[in-house]
Symmetry: C2
Subunit: 132 residues, 2 copies
DNA sequence: ATCAATTGCGTTATGCTATAACGTGTGCGA
DNA sequence: TCGCACACGTTATAGCATAACGCAATTGAT
């Protein structure tokens, strides 16, 4: 799927996420966009829904937050499963992919005739800097 | 870690989850325990915290729900990573484990000197019965 | 025995996350 | 020009989770 032109709201939300150091909650995004005319959570959630659909933003289920995809150009949907390492000290998130993990999970799912649609792989812990 | 004796509230919550067909939200559990004297969400959350700590209950981050561990006797913490296939039609959840997936993920994390503490692997889609 | 620390419990209040339901305007093809 | 799809704005509400207080029971060291 190719990413269509973003609307004004989508662009605003995407820019906030891109400039952010780490993941942001929907309400944090809302606060950052008050000066741009955002007044209600739905304005953020609707933009996020589209950005998630386009694959340029990821949702981190375990911390109810959103992060820009680490691959600015290629569409992330083509990478197979996406995994995240989330540091609980500094909040930094590292996105990574492992084809072998994909392969094993997909194999298991196929053996069960389970039709996968969305996946979540999130590891929480402490990054190298914070583990000291 | 060996599971200590459960308290009254922990037992009630655990029994509800064990008897349930699928995952339950904390508030659903609360409703089911009103007749047993439960009045407030915290009573449920506190019991769940302990049950999660003991490894006899899992939290499904992507649907804000909780499910009893599929291994009634052995402690689930000894199984390495736990993965779930969640059917979005019927709500059924299948817990599974794959040593190779563990190995690959742990390998990557180790290469980054990332100290993993909690993990979430959840695949949402449609089970064999519902995919028809 | 008693004091302190820990743990579980109950209650009230609050905060955070997400969506329902309504209406408006705009662009575009039949 | 009618109907449709889509983005948007607003208000209200639903759903998920925890803070902060106090009380009771247990344990274990002095």
């Amino acid at each position: 799927m190719t990413t269509p032109m973003l609307t004004k709201n989508q662009t605003l939300v995407f820019d906030v996420l891109t400039k952010a150091e780490g993941p942001l909650s929907a309400y944090t995004i809302l606060d950052k966009l008050r000066d741009n005319g955002f007044r209600a959570p739905l304005q953020v959630y609707r933009a996020l829904d589209k950005l998630l659909e386009y694959g340029v933003v990821h949702r981190l289920e375990s911390i109810n937050s959103f992060v820009a995809c680490a691959h600015p150009h290629e569409n992330c949907h083509s990478h197979g499963l996406v995994a995240f390492a989330i540091c609980e000290s500094c909040g930094q998130v590292t996105e990574f992919h492992d084809h072998e993990v994909d392969h094993r999970l997909m194999g298991w799912l196929k053996s069960q005739k389970f039709k996968a649609e969305k996946s979540t792989i999130e590891i929480r812990g402490h990054c190298a800097s914070c583990a000291a």
